[in-house]
């Protein structure tokens, strides 16, 4: 039984990792006041370009870099449209998702059916071999640890650093930040690019480590769950980890219940993550004080300097 629990926790962690990347990136983006709904598209772009890079060069590291870069570049299309051309953020984000899905499918055509070297889990002598906690703490592939590191850095950045504070100010009150002298548009560009980079990395994780292959639409809605996660976490990085494990985990739990022969209808269990998201959304949204304290006040609004 302990074996099963350990193994399930391991699997839940890997399932959570792409969500952690994408949600952390979107969190920073939204904290600066920009709502980017194109996460699904950016994840797919990161997945296909990361896979292609490893397929061509054979180097997983280059694949990771490619995924990050591709995601960031895709997000900049969104950035230019919404920040410099002042287009509607919701519509532009949706366009990015549709565009990203189509572009990744097209570009990925020649990579369907190919395979690459999977990114292997690490093995630290002594530590990984510790009973029970050994594999849970020290037996994942490197990107899982990287995700947690990114999360911690983001938490520190937003909460304790000067530029993090500036970013939050830009998201809460862009006109005031501008009046003080901060370059609102530039800061938002950086936040958008970070969001894109992380979404791309989340997607690349899927095609490089989770299942070393490329298939159209392989993110299967994870980008949208990441968006929900940010709200679920009340825009606080620490909660993102909890939420990601929860949502990544529900799918695993559902499959486990089936394999164990518990007679719960599979389709009902498959609905759970989505219903859970709605329930959570309701629970946290009704506490409007908490929302006000954490939600960036300028979220979704275009910024035009009033001189």
């Amino acid at each position: 039984m302990t074996e099963l629990i350990i193994a399930s926790v391991m699997t839940m962690m890997t399932a959570a990792t792409p969500l952690i990347f994408a949600a952390t990136g979107e969190l920073v983006c939204e904290k600066s006041g920009v709502l980017n709904l194109g996460v699904e598209g950016m994840m797919l772009i990161g997945a296909v370009f990361g896979f292609a890079a490893v397929s061509i060069t054979g180097q997983p590291l280059i694949g990771v870099v490619a995924g990050i870069t591709a995601g960031a570049l895709a997000s900049l299309i969104f950035g230019v449209l919404t920040l410099s051309l002042l287009s509607n953020q919701v519509a532009t984000g949706l366009a990015l998702t549709i565009f990203g899905t189509g572009l990744s499918a097209l570009f990925g055509l020649e990579y369907v059916g190919k395979t690459i070297e999977q990114i292997e889990p690490i093995h630290i002598p002594l530590l990984t071999d510790l009973p029970i906690i050994g594999r849970i703490l020290f037996g994942h592939d490197p990107l899982v640890y990287f995700a947690i590191v990114i999360l911690l850095i983001t938490a520190w950045f937003l909460g304790r650093s000067r530029w993090g504070m500036v970013l939050r100010a830009v998201g809460d009150s862009d006109q005031s930040a501008h009046a003080i002298g901060y370059r609102v548009i530039l800061i938002r560009y950086a936040a958008v690019a970070f969001g894109g980079a992380m979404a791309g990395l989340g997607g690349a994780y899927l095609s490089l480590a989770y299942t070393p292959l490329w298939a159209e639409n392989m993110t299967a809605g994870r980008g949208w769950i990441a968006l929900a996660l940010v709200v679920f976490a009340s825009w606080r990085p620490g909660r993102v980890l909890f939420g990601a494990v929860l949502f990544g985990g529900i799918t695993i739990l559902q499959l486990n219940a089936q394999a164990a022969g518990l007679g719960i209808p599979a389709s009902y269990m498959s609905m759970l993550p989505y219903i859970a998201t709605i329930v959570v959304l309701v629970l946290i949204s009704r506490d409007s004080t908490r929302i006000r304290l954490n939600a960036p006040a300028c979220l979704g609004r275009s910024f035009r300097a009033e001189r």
Partner: protein, 357 residues
């Protein structure tokens, strides 16, 4: 610039010619509707290999077209009709969900011949065909029975339809024939193709103690997830050995080529008739990939089992067979007929789960 204009004009002209149906040659046009991409290395890949076989053997008299990623439903009807409108005389629709659309289009184009894979409704110009994949599953079961140390096999199933359920039953019958203690853990993925989900299913099954994984879904993800942990697994629809060189035991290969070539020839000769074909190993429609990563005696046993099925000496569903409730569904010595298998919605004895719904 002028060159571009000229090329565009030429292109437009040829497009107009296409639209007006002017034939480029007198070749017979054969069309294919695919549910996925030929590169999926699974179900659609196998069909495409069959298509390529037609071109190889009859290329001087036949040309082929395919439309990929056609969703089941109203879009399918349009795609099939488009093939019929553009001069294709033989059209293969390669997924169950194309059944109603195929029948509808067949009514509108009585001179076009349709072949619907895995369906159960025919018409004067609609034939159905399927392969006895369950024969391959039996062989897989025999191998699993010999190779499993934990006596637990993980089965990633797609949808609770007779096709899949008879596969599970056949697998178990094969396993029990060499190892009565084998148990099967089943997970329903409710998809034919979703790599991350298939990988998840494989991981979960392995977490729960399965040391052999088999699947009725189409991607290589489960095989690869198993390979990552060094767990043996079976490939599906095509030989997936290059995705798991050290852990693939064998794979059921869908060999549509011979059937496709035969039917195309019949259209060329004018002898095509609507039939229902359910062929297996004996007709070469189901072939096993080389037996790898197992001891020589197991490989020999597997090969012999397959050969016995091929020659008709052995039928996977030979009585006595009991269902889950303990009732005798097939008497001793009798073999199941096609009808019993085609409607099989129950598990045989030895499976503890219930069939969903």
């Amino acid at each position: 610039m002028r060159n571009l204009l000229r090329r565009t004009a030429l292109a437009l002209a040829s497009a107009l010619m296409l639209a007006s149906g002017a034939a480029s040659a007198d070749k017979l046009k054969v069309g294919f509707i695919y549910i996925g991409p030929p590169g999926d290395f699974g179900w659609t890949y196998a069909h495409d290999q069959g298509r390529l076989q037609i071109e190889k053997e009859l290329g001087d008299r036949v040309e082929t077209t395919y439309v990929e990623n056609v969703p089941e439903g109203p879009d399918a009807e349009r795609a099939i009709a488009k093939l019929a409108e553009t001069g294709h005389e033989l059209i293969f629709t390669t997924s169950f969900g194309y059944m109603e659309p195929t029948l509808k289009v067949a009514k509108r184009f009585p001179n076009v011949k349709f072949e619907h894979a895995t369906g159960y409704q025919r018409a004067d110009n609609v034939a159905t065909y399927n392969a006895k994949f369950y024969e391959g599953r039996y062989v897989q079961g025999v191998i699993a029975g010999k190779m499993s140390k934990t006596n637990t096999v993980g089965y990633i199933a797609s949808f609770p339809i007779p096709e899949v359920i008879m596969g599970i039953n056949s697998f178990l019958l094969g396993a029990h024939s060499v190892n009565p203690n084998i148990k099967v853990k089943i997970v329903w993925a409710y998809t034919w193709f979703d790599p991350p989900k298939e990988a998840d299913a494989a991981k979960v099954l392995m977490d729960q103690g399965a040391d052999i994984i088999t699947q009725h879904t189409d991607s290589t993800a489960a095989l690869q997830a198993a390979a990552e942990r060094g767990v043996m697994a079976f490939g599906q629809a095509s030989d997936m050995i290059k995705f798991a060189p050290k852990t693939q035991l064998t794979s059921i290969i869908d060999e549509w080529g011979p059937y496709y070539v035969e039917r195309t020839k019949e259209v060329l000769d004018g002898t095509w008739k609507s039939t229902d074909t359910w062929h297996g190993m004996s007709d070469g429609l189901v072939v096993m990939a080389p037996y790898t990563n197992m001891p020589a005696d197991v490989a020999a046993l597997a090969a012999k089992t397959a050969e016995d099925i091929r020659t008709g000496k052995l039928h996977p569903f030979t009585g006595p067979i009991y269902n889950q409730d303990g009732e005798l569904v097939l008497e001793a010595g009798k073999t199941a007929d096609d009808g019993m298998l085609a409607g099989m919605m129950y598990y045989i004895k030895g499976i503890d789960d219930k069939v969903p719904n």
